[in-house]
């Protein structure tokens, strides 16, 4: 297993040109993730959470600033990162075994490769389905296979792009526990994009809230950034979560944090809007 890697965003911005118009998605993102840390990226939809994750994977390049893994800047596809997408995206023509093998680093072949694939299939509880095709699996199983494929890449940083969003509520809870377990075993750094405050509170060491620079809760003009909605998202809040993982889902301090997080996201809690 590769050692967990640190991940650093410094002054990262990303702008797209949509139909000839300039659209700033991210501005001045500074964030340092320690090796082995689990970070949840939370924010309203369209705020650039996934864009930030794609920058770390090297699937996209920043327009400003640098992204680095263990101090080395990311250029092109980053071999120390592995991505799990919102959809399983398994290759339908391959068996589960060969789908997981697709994640293996280059040069791992033969018997070691077979053992490694079997190991990860066992970890996600799919060893009995090695010869099945993706279309024979349920959504939860397919996403578990996608997780095994990512782990087979032996990533220093595991990048998860809303991986459980499309699953039913019960399967989602099971997947969260599985992820916590796998993270403990493998020790990888995890960057988890989610829109689920509970998921973030359950799994993360720190929650990073992305959003527009002007503070939505306290009216115009009072935020740290500009009022321009085209200015792009910034890191609005970094919230360390107390207590060691895995956390009790019914914890009362978590319930309070949840309320303040939701109000940050603009959800009315207890009938009032908090700043």
């Amino acid at each position: 297993m590769r050692e967990p890697a640190g991940l650093e965003f410094s002054g990262v911005g990303r702008a797209f040109a949509v139909a000839g118009r300039h659209r700033q998605v991210l501005t001045g993102i500074d964030l340092t993730v320690a090796p082995g840390e689990v970070i949840a990226l939370l924010g309203p939809s369209g705020c650039g959470k996934s864009t930030l994750l794609r920058l770390a994977a090297g699937l996209d390049a920043p327009s400003a600033g640098t992204v680095s893994v263990d101090g080395r800047p990311v250029r092109g596809i980053e071999p120390r990162c592995a991505v799990v997408f919102q959809e399983p995206r398994l290759l339908p023509w391959r068996t589960l075994f060969r789908n997981v093998a697709y994640g293996l680093p280059r040069g791992v072949t033969g018997e070691p490769a077979r053992q490694e694939v079997e190991h990860w299939l066992r970890v996600v509880g799919l060893d009995a389905f090695a010869q099945h095709r993706p279309r024979q699996l349920s959504g939860g199983m397919a996403q578990r296979a996608a997780l095994a494929r990512a782990l087979a890449r032996r990533p220093g940083v595991l990048l998860l792009d809303e991986p459980f969003a499309a699953l039913d509520a019960l399967t989602r809870l099971r997947m969260q526990d599985l992820l916590a377990e796998v993270q403990r075993e493998a020790g990888t750094t995890v960057l988890l994009v989610t829109h689920d405050a509970d998921e973030a509170l359950h799994l993360a060491d720190r929650i990073v809230l992305l959003g527009s620079g002007s503070d939505a809760g306290s009216g115009p003009g009072s935020g740290s950034g500009s009022d321009d909605p085209e200015a792009g998202s910034v890191v609005r809040l970094v919230l360390p979560i107390p207590g060691a993982r895995p956390r009790d889902r019914g914890d009362t301090t978590l319930a309070e944090l949840r309320a303040s997080l939701l109000s940050e996201l603009g959800v009315n809690v207890h009938g009032r809007i908090q700043a």
């Binding site: 699937l59 023509w93 494929r149």
Partner: protein
């Protein structure tokens, strides 16, 4: 028969074996019915025997040609032309279709021209090919290759350029680019479409073969057709048509069989 087989296999995978055999048997009913109508029309005096000889006469023409050893020769030469021409045309279609499907630059540069050439009717090539390549085997094989090329080219380029971008992104995220990306994502994703393109190409190869043999040849099933017209042998003419249908179906069945096997392997 392969089309029926395929449909049975894909549409009703749950069906038990006997009903599958039953469905396959339905495919034989229509040809037998047509044979009956043919016999009826020929014997009822609707057409003269010179216009429409009864099936028995066609069968005896078949016997004669076999006895004289001519028939195998015609069949063999036609099949050989189709197979060589199809192999060449399909290979070129795969290569050029692959290039156009994978590269936007190649697509922009090549596809308008290729589409214009595609619009040329098959027979329009014949005089030019005869002028350039003489009357030997080459012009016929080239014409078959032209026929096989276009369906393969079109389906391959379309299939490769329409691969699910999500899967392509998986390939990139897991460190594949260039040739490994083509080999592990793009080509496997496009395989079903490519196979049906090959079947279309083979069918069109047979069409173009007859066009070539009708005009300039001394052997082959197309020659048999035009020769029987000149000598007033309607029975031989019908025999040639039946043989073309049977051979086209037979070669298509081989490709269809490969296609079905591949699909069950991937299922």
């Amino acid at each position: 028969m392969s089309l029926t087989e395929e449909r049975t296999a894909t549409a009703a995978p749950q069906k038990s074996a006997p009903s599958r055999v039953g469905l396959r048997a339905i495919g034989v009913v229509l040809p037998l019915l047509l044979l009956g109508v043919w016999q009826l029309l020929a014997t009822a005096g609707v057409y003269s025997p010179a216009q429409l000889p009864p099936p028995a006469e066609v069968a005896s023409a078949f016997g004669d040609l076999v006895a004289r050893g001519e028939l195998w020769h015609h069949i063999a030469i036609s099949t050989q032309r189709v197979l060589i021409g199809f192999a060449a045309g399909a290979a070129l279609g795969l290569a050029l279709g692959g290039l156009v499907g994978l590269s936007r630059t190649a697509n922009a540069a090549l596809s308008p021209t290729v589409q214009a050439i595609r619009a040329v009717p098959s027979l329009a090539w014949v005089p030019l090919l005869l002028l350039w390549l003489g009357v030997g085997e080459t012009p016929k094989i080239v014409l078959v290759a032209i026929g096989a090329f276009f369906p393969v080219y079109t389906t391959v380029s379309a299939a490769l350029s329409h691969v699910d971008p999500h899967l392509t992104e998986v390939g990139r995220a897991y460190g594949r680019s260039g040739l490994p990306l083509v080999a592990t994502i793009l080509f496997p994703a496009a395989t079903p479409a490519i196979l049906s393109g090959l079947r279309l190409g083979l069918a069109q190869g047979w069409l173009f073969l007859v066009a070539a043999e009708l005009i300039a040849s001394s052997m082959g099933l197309g020659f048999l057709l035009i020769d029987s017209q000149n000598t007033g042998r309607t029975d031989v003419m019908l025999l040639a048509i039946v043989l073309l249908a049977a051979l086209g179906k037979l070669t298509d069945t081989f490709l269809g069989f490969a296609e079905t096997r591949l699909q069950t392997a991937r299922r």
